[in-house]
C-alpha cells in the first residue's frame, strides 16, 4: 500500500521539506495536525460537519481550522448526517477531497444509506470512472462513560461493506500517518477514532515515514501467544502482555491499524511465530470483525496453531449505561483467562 510520499507542510505558514519534525502530541492534536498539513498542501481538502467550525469539534479535532484556513475550507453544516455525507460524495465527484466528521459513532447512522449505497459503490458502479476520495471521520467506541448512542463500536457495518477502507489508529503517530494516508487515498475511508484515546499522548513524526493504509504492526514482541487488537483494544492488549510477562508468559501484540484492507501477511506471520492467538476487540463478537480475523487466520495458519484462536470482546448486547460499562469492555483479566485457555498442557 502506498504511503504519502510527497513533502508536506508542517503548518499553514511554513513548508518543511527536509528533516521531519517530531513532537509529543495527544491523538486529538495529531489528528488536528494531520488535517492542517493536508489542508495546507492541497486546496482541494475541505473539512465539514456539525460543530467543526467555531467550536472546533466536540473533541477539538478541528480546533482552529476555520480561523486559520477560512470558512470555505472548514465549515459547519446543517445538522444532518445524510446530507453531510451525500454532499461530500458530490464534492468528491467534482474535484474536492472532503473530510467530514460524524459527531459520534451512533450519529453516523442517518448517513448509512449514503455510505453503503453510494460512498462504497461509486467506483464499482461507474467502472472506475468516478472515484470518491473522501474521508468519514468517526469518533468511536466506549470507555469514556458516555450515555447511550455515544459508545458504539460500529466497525463491522463498514468493514462488511465492500468498497470502503476502514482504519482505526491506536497511537497519535498512527493517527497522524493514517489520516494523511486516508486523505491522500483515491478511495473512500471510514476513519474510526477511539474516543478514549483522544487524550493519550505519544511521539509523532511529521511528515511520517511509516507505511500507510493496509499495514499492521507488531507493537510488542513475544514468543508464547499473539494478541491481535485494533483501536481502543490495543492499549488493553499491551497491558495484558505486561501483566502476563510478570507471570512468566511472553505475549506478542499485533495492532491491525487497518481493518480494511487487512494485512494477512503481518498478522499470520505473528500468529505462526507463537502458535497461539487471542483476538481482542471492544465490539460485540457475533458476526464482528474479530470473527473475521479468527476465520482468516485459521484458514491460513491452521497447521501452525496449537489451540483454537480465542476472542475476547464485548458481549452481544446494546452498549450498556456508564455504571455497567466496565463489564462490557475487554480487560486484562479476561484476556489473561483466554490466554490460559489456549491448551498449554499439550
Amino acid at each position: 500500500m502506498t504511503a504519502v510520499a510527497e513533502p508536506m507542510t508542517a503548518s499553514p505558514a511554513k513548508r518543511v521539506e527536509t528533516e521531519p519534525e517530531r513532537g509529543t502530541l495527544s491523538m486529538a492534536q495529531a489528528l488536528n495536525r494531520a488535517l492542517r498539513d493536508a489542508m495546507a498542501e492541497d486546496p482541494a481538502v475541505v473539512v465539514f460537519g456539525e460543530d467543526v467550525g467555531a467550536l472546533g469539534g466536540v473533541f477539538r479535532v478541528t480546533d482552529g481550522l476555520t480561523a486559520d484556513f477560512g470558512e470555505a475550507r472548514c465549515f459547519d453544516t446543517p445538522l444532518a448526517e445524510s446530507g453531510i455525507v451525500g454532499m461530500a460524495v458530490g464534492m468528491a465527484m467534482n474535484g474536492m477531497r472532503p473530510v467530514v466528521e460524524m459527531q459520534f459513532d451512533a450519529f453516523a447512522y442517518p448517513a448509512f444509506e449514503q455510505i453503503v449505497s453510494h460512498v462504497a459503490k461509486m467506483r464499482n458502479r461507474t467502472r472506475g470512472r468516478v472515484a470518491l476520495p473522501m474521508v468519514i471521520r468517526v469518533p468511536y467506541a466506549g470507555g469514556i462513560g458516555g450515555v447511550e448512542h455515544h459508545c458504539d463500536s460500529s466497525e463491522a457495518y463498514y468493514a462488511h461493506t465492500p468498497g470502503l477502507h476502514v482504519l482505526a489508529p491506536a497511537t497519535p503517530a498512527d493517527a497522524y500517518t493514517l489520516l494523511r494516508a486516508a486523505i491522500a487515498s483515491p478511495d473512500p475511508v471510514v476513519f474510526l477514532e477511539p474516543k478514549k484515546l483522544y487524550w493519550s499522548k505519544g511521539e509523532v513524526e511529521m511528515p511520517s515515514r511509516a507505511p500507510g493504509i493496509g499495514s499492521a504492526v507488531v507493537r510488542r514482541h513475544g514468543t508464547d501467544a499473539t494478541l491481535i487488537a485494533y483501536g481502543p483494544a490495543v492499549p488493553v492488549a499491551l497491558d495484558a502482555a505486561e501483566a502476563a510477562a510478570r507471570e512468566g508468559r511472553s505475549l506478542q501484540v499485533v495492532d491491525l491499524r487497518s481493518i480494511v484492507p487487512f494485512d494477512d501477511e503481518t498478522v499470520c506471520a505473528a500468529v505462526r511465530s507463537t502458535g497461539r492467538a487471542v483476538v481482542v476487540a471492544e465490539a460485540a463478537g457475533f458476526a464482528g470483525v474479530s470473527a473475521e480475523i479468527v476465520a482468516r487466520v485459521t484458514e491460513r495458519c491452521f497447521n501452525a496453531l496449537a489451540a483454537p484462536i480465542r476472542r475476547v470482546g464485548g458481549f452481544d448486547i446494546p452498549y450498556p449505561p456508564p455504571k455497567l460499562e466496565h463489564f462490557q469492555l475487554p480487560g486484562v483479566d479476561r484476556i489473561l483467562d483466554a490466554v490460559d485457555d489456549l491448551q498449554w498442557e499439550q
Binding site: E50, D51, G53, A54, L55, G56, V58, D76, T77, P78, L79, A80, E81, S82, G83, A106, F107, Y109, P110, G145, V147, E148, H149, H150, F286, F315, D316, I317, P318, P320, P321, P322, K323, L324, F327, Q328, D333, R334
Partner: protein, 366 residues
C-alpha cells in the same frame, strides 16, 4: 382542495399574550388565541418554579459528580411546562434529551427521568406509565415514532394526541421531514413542537435554515405552522392548547415553533464562550419566562406572597427528592446487561451472563 397555502402559514409575528414586563399585550385578546384562564396560569407558575428548581438542582448535581452530564432547559421552562400541561392523561409526550422537565411535568419521577444521565440505565422510567416515550438522543428520530403512536390511536379509535418535541437543529434531519409528511398524509393527531433556542450546540439557527421561520417548514407538507413567544407562558398554553384541541377534534397535525433561548451551555461539558457572547445571553435574562408570568399574576392580584411561598416549598420538595434520589447509590445489577436484549435470552446470551456471574463469584472468593 385549495392550493392556496395561506392557511398553513404562521402569523407574521410570533403569538404573544404577555410582554417582557408582565403586562397583557393590548389587543392580543381579540386574536385567534384567547388568553388561558387564570387558574391555568397560576398552576403554570407553580410548575415553572419547580421546573427552574429542577434544572438548577440537576446542574448542581453534575458539579457534585452525581450526574454524568445535564443538558439543561434553563430559560426554556415555559416550553417544558406548557408541553406537559396542555395534554390529557391519555396523550403521549415524545421528549428529547433536553426535555426532562417536560417529562416530569407528565408525572415521571425526576430521579427516574435522570437515570439516563446518571448512568444507571438508559431509560429509567416506564414509558407506558405516564405515556412518555424514552428520551431521544439521536436527533429527530423520535418524530416518526410519535406519528406512529398517533396513527395507531386513530386506527384503534382512541382520542390520543401526541406531543412530539424537537430542537431547532433537529429540524435539519431527514426524520423531521419524513415525520411531518407522514403525519400530514395520515392526518395523524400530532403536535410537532420545536423549541427554537437559537443553537444546536455551537451552530446558530442561520446555519440550519434559510426559511423565513421553522414554522414555515410545515407548508410544504400541508401542515399548518404557528410561531409563539417561547418565554410567554400564556401564549404557549394558548397556542399549544389550540393545536392539541384541533388535533383531538380530527384536524390533523400542526407545527408549533417556540422562540426561546438556551441560557446555559449545551451541557456542562460544553464551552459556550467559543461561539457566543455574554451580551447575547444577558439580553435574554430580561425575557425570563418566570419573572414575566410572576409579575403578571402579582399585578393582577391572582397570586400573593402566600401562594408564592407554597410554590417555593413545593419546588424545594421536588428538588430535595431529586437530590436524595441521586445521592443514593444503587449497585447496578450486571444481570441487567443480558436481561432485556430479547424477550427470551438467546443461548449465547445465557452463556455470556454465566461468564460474568462466574467472574464475579471468583472475585468474591478472592
Amino acid at each position: 382542495m385549495t392550493r392556496d397555502p395561506s392557511h398553513l402559514l404562521p402569523a407574521a409575528e410570533p403569538v404573544a399574550l404577555i410582554d417582557a414586563d408582565g403586562r397583557a399585550i393590548k389587543g392580543a385578546d381579540g386574536t385567534a388565541y384567547p388568553a388561558p384562564d387564570d387558574a391555568a396560569l397560576v398552576k403554570a407558575l407553580g410548575a415553572l418554579l419547580t421546573a427552574r428548581r429542577l434544572n438548577d438542582q440537576a446542574y448542581a448535581l453534575v458539579r457534585q459528580g452525581r450526574l454524568a452530564v445535564y443538558p439543561s432547559s434553563h430559560g426554556q421552562e415555559a416550553c417544558q411546562v406548557a408541553a406537559a400541561q396542555v395534554l390529557d392523561e391519555g396523550d403521549w409526550l415524545f421528549p428529547t434529551y433536553r426535555d426532562t422537565v417536560a417529562a416530569v411535568g407528565r408525572g415521571v419521577d425526576p430521579v427516574e427521568a435522570l437515570s439516563l444521565l446518571k448512568g444507571d440505565w438508559h431509560c429509567g422510567y416506564d414509558p407506558h406509565e405516564h405515556h412518555v416515550a424514552p428520551h431521544a438522543t439521536p436527533l429527530a428520530t423520535q418524530l416518526p415514532h410519535a406519528v406512529g403512536v398517533a396513527h395507531a390511536a386513530t386506527l384503534r379509535g382512541e382520542p390520543t394526541v401526541v406531543m412530539a418535541m424537537c430542537g431547532d437543529g433537529g429540524t435539519s434531519e431527514g426524520d423531521f421531514h419524513e415525520a411531518l409528511n407522514f403525519a400530514a398524509v395520515f392526518h395523524a393527531p400530532v403536535v410537532f413542537f420545536i423549541q427554537n433556542n437559537g443553537y444546536a450546540i455551537s451552530v446558530p439557527l442561520s446555519r440550519q435554515t434559510a426559511a423565513p421561520s421553522l414554522a414555515h417548514k410545515g407548508v410544504g407538507y400541508g401542515v399548518p405552522g404557528e410561531r409563539v413567544d417561547g418565554n410567554d407562558m400564556a401564549a404557549l398554553l394558548a397556542v399549544l392548547g389550540a393545536a392539541v384541541a384541533r388535533a383531538r377534534a380530527g384536524g390533523g397535525p400542526q407545527l408549533v415553533e417556540a422562540l426561546t433561548y438556551r441560557m446555559q451551555a449545551h451541557t456542562n461539558a460544553d464551552d459556550a464562550t467559543r461561539y457566543r457572547d455574554d451580551a447575547e445571553v444577558a439580553a435574554w435574562v430580561e425575557r425570563d419566562p418566570i419573572t414575566r408570568l410572576r409579575t403578571h399574576l402579582l399585578d393582577r392580584g391572582l397570586i400573593g406572597p402566600e401562594q408564592l411561598q407554597d410554590f417555593a416549598a413545593e419546588a424545594e420538595r421536588v428538588a430535595t427528592h431529586l437530590r436524595d434520589g441521586l445521592n443514593r447509590d444503587v449497585e447496578p445489577d450486571p444481570a441487567d446487561l443480558f436481561a432485556h436484549v430479547y424477550a427470551t435470552p438467546t443461548p449465547q446470551l445465557r452463556e455470556q451472563a454465566a461468564l460474568v456471574a462466574d467472574e464475579l463469584s471468583r472475585e468474591g472468593a478472592r
